[in-house]
């Protein structure tokens, strides 16, 4: 199954974030609790961690981009070689935890 990682929220006062750094390359397997990406809010860093195992398949939004809370920023899959759909609108959200520091 294919999942989309979305910008997590709500975070008080935050409408938009900037993507600071992706952790890991396309094709890499992630285990639960591994850090996927770091995001910047207007005053804090947000660490986003995987909520289930999966493979990072596609980065939709690169470091430096600005995104709304809820926007899809990467695609993950359960297995390494599942075909990615052309349309990303109907994809389930990847379970993920986040911590604001």
């Amino acid at each position: 199954m294919i999942y989309a990682l979305v910008v997590p929220g709500p975070i008080p006062d935050v409408e938009q974030i900037r993507i600071l750094e992706w952790h890991g390359a396309i094709g890499q397997k992630f285990e639960p609790e591994e850090m996927l990406v770091e995001l910047e809010t207007y005053k804090a860093l947000v660490e986003v961690r995987a909520g289930q195992p999966g493979f990072l398949r596609k980065i939709i939004s690169e470091a430096g981009n600005w995104e709304d809370v809820g926007a899809p920023i990467a695609l993950f899959s359960d297995t390494a070689d599942e075909a990615l759909p052309a349309n990303t609108e109907q994809i389930a959200d990847l379970p993920a935890s986040f911590e604001v520091s």
Binding site: D13, V14, E15, Q16, R18, Y42, K43, W66
Partner: protein, 332 residues
């Protein structure tokens, strides 16, 4: 051909409001070795709104100094350092506590050039954060109108990242004291700032949205509320021209009067108290220059701002109250 058609698009970079401030400070510190910064928690902590992050690391503890919680001493030190050849920015985290620093600011900094026959200059910027955001009676006030009538003092209040950057740089090049007023609710915002270094001149207002039926003057965070109100009014067939003051002292009364001459009516919007407020001054100066027009002041209730979010919201003006007041005015 209009200006916009002939002017090539200026390259811009998107940044958070605090980053626009950091950029302005870093560039001016690079440009002028005499510039020092004083404030509570502006060093290793990087400022209450993270608007000083990295500056102490980059420019050292001599130039970026943490101070005790003692605003009278902070402004006093800044005034003295500036009078003796430095250029100083003093950061007052809550504008409410600028009250403690008004003596050195008003009685010395603003007067020094006059009483010394021009021999003493006080190139001082007081950057301070105004406005209500859940912190109650003494951490929410907007007292910029108190400062507008002090000869020798300039007062600016940006609402965008680009103006925060450009106005702060201009303020840091002035020969006399400037109060730079930002707002707690501006810090979560982001915006485009010209990529190339530049300044925004002090003393000019800006027509943000053209309109035919009424002029709505505003400054600081309320500018966002004014633009919302103008949009709501537009849906009701009322065309409001939004004039952002940008600079409160000096006030660009020519731009304001030009607008009111075209629209024939004036509304003012502010978060500070209306009695002897910014709007009262704008309206009277308009009256003196172009004669009476239908006018109204829109602002908070005459009450302190509560730390209860519900009561805070009930105290302040919003786009809905602005729309109601403007419709009532135009129907009179």
């Amino acid at each position: 051909m209009s200006d916009t058609a002939t002017t090539p698009a200026i390259p811009t970079t998107r940044m958070f409001f605090r980053e626009a401030i950091i950029r302005a400070l870093a560039e001016e510190m690079e440009r002028d070795a005499r510039l020092i910064l004083l404030g509570q928690d502006i060093g290793a902590f990087g400022g209450s709104y993270k608007e000083f992050v990295g500056l102490q690391e980059r420019f050292g503890k001599d130039r970026v100094r943490d101070t005790p919680i003692a605003e009278a001493a902070m402004v006093g030190l800044g005034v003295g350092a500036s009078a003796m050849g430095h250029r100083t920015l003093v950061n007052i985290t809550y504008m409410d506590f600028l009250m403690l620093g008004l003596d050195p600011l008003i009685n010395f900094a603003a007067k020094a050039r006059f009483k010394s026959g021009g021999q003493i200059r006080v190139p001082l910027v007081v950057k301070t954060t105004a406005g209500a955001k859940g912190q109650g009676v003494a951490h929410s006030q907007c007292i910029e109108s108190w400062l507008m009538g002090v000869p020798g003092l300039k007062v600016v209040a940006p609402s965008t990242c680009a103006d925060a950057y450009g106005l702060l740089k201009s303020a840091l090049r002035e020969e006399g004291p400037v109060v730079f007023v930002d707002h707690k609710r501006l810090f979560p915002t982001s915006g485009e700032v010209p990529t190339q270094e530049g300044t925004v001149p002090i003393g000019r207002s800006r027509i943000l949205r053209p309109g035919r039926d009424i002029t709505l003057t505003v400054h600081g965070y309320c500018t966002r509320i004014a633009l919302e109100a103008a949009e709501l009014l537009s849906a009701k067939g009322i065309s409001a021209e939004v004039v952002e003051l940008v600079s409160l002292a000096p006030l660009d009364i020519e731009t304001i009067c030009g607008s009111v001459s075209r629209t024939g009516a004036l509304a003012t919007l502010e978060e500070g108290q209306l009695v002897c407020g910014v709007g009262a001054e704008v309206a009277f100066q308009v009256n003196e220059r172009i004669g009476p027009v239908p006018s109204c002041r829109i602002g908070p209730r005459a009450a302190p701002v509560s730390s209860s979010p519900l009561l805070e919201a009930a105290t302040l003006a919003n786009s809905g109250t602005a729309v109601t007041a403007i419709i009532e005015l135009l129907e009179k």
